[in-house]
């Protein structure tokens, strides 16, 4: 019985993690790719006209220098909140905390889970 419960809990955790990963990917596509690019390399359709180039989210070194808390903060409150460009807007009115956490998770996948 105990084994079954543990298996069910692990299975549920895995499903939840997958759902968060899917949500992060989807939200990234909707809100981030215009500037950060469909590949997350900072070369979105808006990038050519921008005075400051969007962050390359596939840059492992750069992204590893940022904590999850910093990433959460910059998504919620915008670039200005961490003394970066105003071109990174605050998404706190468009996304709830769970959605921002899912986005942070997707950024980690982009930067640091190379195939």
């Amino acid at each position: 019985m105990k084994t079954l419960l543990i298996a069910a809990t692990l299975s549920l955790a895995s499903v939840t993690a997958q759902a968060a990963a899917d949500s992060g990917k989807q939200l990234y596509s909707v809100y981030c790719t215009q500037c950060h690019g469909v590949a997350g390399d900072g070369k979105g359709i808006n990038a050519a006209q921008m005075a400051v180039q969007p962050r390359d989210h596939t840059d492992t070194k750069e992204m590893s220098a940022r904590t999850d808390e910093e990433l959460f903060k910059v998504i919620e409150h915008g670039g200005k909140s961490i003394n970066k460009s105003v071109l990174m807007p605050p998404w706190g009115d468009n996304l709830n905390d769970d959605e921002i956490h899912a986005l942070v998770g997707h950024l980690r996948a982009l930067c640091c889970q190379k195939n």
């Binding site: 989807q26 939200l27 596509s29 909707v30 809100y31 790719t33 215009q34 500037c35 690019g37 469909v38 590949a39 390399d41 070369k43 979105g44 359709i45 808006n46 990038a47 050519a48 006209q49 921008m50 005075a51 915008g78 200005k80 460009s85 105003v86 071109l87 990174m88 807007p89 605050p90 998404w91 706190g92 009115d93 468009n94 959605e99």
Partner: protein, 236 residues
């Protein structure tokens, strides 16, 4: 008002007015049905999308029109419907039209659909009908914006350097980001109160909007609106 008019004439006038009103209502109902049939496959005409999950945003083919009467200027609608030109360089859902290239992502214009053109009579009827869709009269009434002036240089700096609007929007042809609608004709197409109210609270209008709320206070929002007025009035 009808005090000095004989009873018979009053009755006749009353019947005529009632008939005219019923004809108007019938014509209006016809247009509503036409708009639903012709526009409804791409444009949302009710608020169902607002209750749907956020990813409905990715399925949209065109902007919602359920609050068109609070948003557009009637004369612009009438004109644009006869000669529709692209307002959103990358479509209503830009990620669907972005493709990677050696120089970074570009807009795949072959995937962008053209809006059908209407004749003058149809455009007039559709514009009149759309202007009746006003679920947000309250938001408009609460708006305090009074159109004013701003110096070109100040407005431009505010739009670009200070607020970053140019990351997504163009304030002149081919100048600025392409994921949002161009804004150099915004003043011609949008009601002034809507411009201000939408910049301040975009999600109040469309909960799944891709427009963020900046850190602009009311005065700064009004400055942005005045800049759109300045550049819009310079357009032909």
């Amino acid at each position: 008002m009808m005090k000095g008019i004989p009873v018979k004439l009053r009755l006749t006038l009353g019947i005529a007015a009632a008939l005219a009103a019923s004809v108007h209502v019938a014509a209006h109902a016809d247009t509503a049905a036409d708009v639903k049939q012709q526009c409804g496959s791409c444009h949302a005409l009710d608020r169902d999308y607002a209750k749907a999950a956020k990813h409905e945003r990715a399925e949209r083919k065109a902007p919602p029109l359920d609050f068109a009467g609070n948003k557009f200027r009637r004369e612009w609608l009438y004109s644009w419907l006869q000669n529709p030109v692209r307002l959103r360089p990358a479509g209503v859902f830009p990620p669907a039209h972005a493709k990677p290239s050696a120089d970074g992502d570009v807009v795949d214009t072959t995937t962008l659909a053209k809006h059908p053109a209407l004749d003058a009579a149809q455009a007039g009827k559709v514009a009149d009908y759309l202007m009746t869709l006003t679920p947000f009269d309250g938001l408009i009434a609460a708006e305090t914006y009074q159109p004013g002036t701003i110096a070109q240089r100040m407005g431009q700096m505010n739009f670009g350097k200070f607020k970053g609007c140019d990351g997504c929007h163009q304030d002149a042809p081919d100048t600025g980001g392409v994921s949002g609608p161009e804004l150099y004709t915004a003043w011609q197409r949008l009601q002034p109160a809507f411009i201000s109210a939408y910049i301040a609270q975009p999600a109040a209008w469309d909960p799944h909007t891709m427009m963020p709320v900046g850190d602009a206070n009311t005065a700064a929002v009004h400055k942005l609106a005045n800049y759109l007025k300045l550049i819009g009035e310079k357009q032909p």
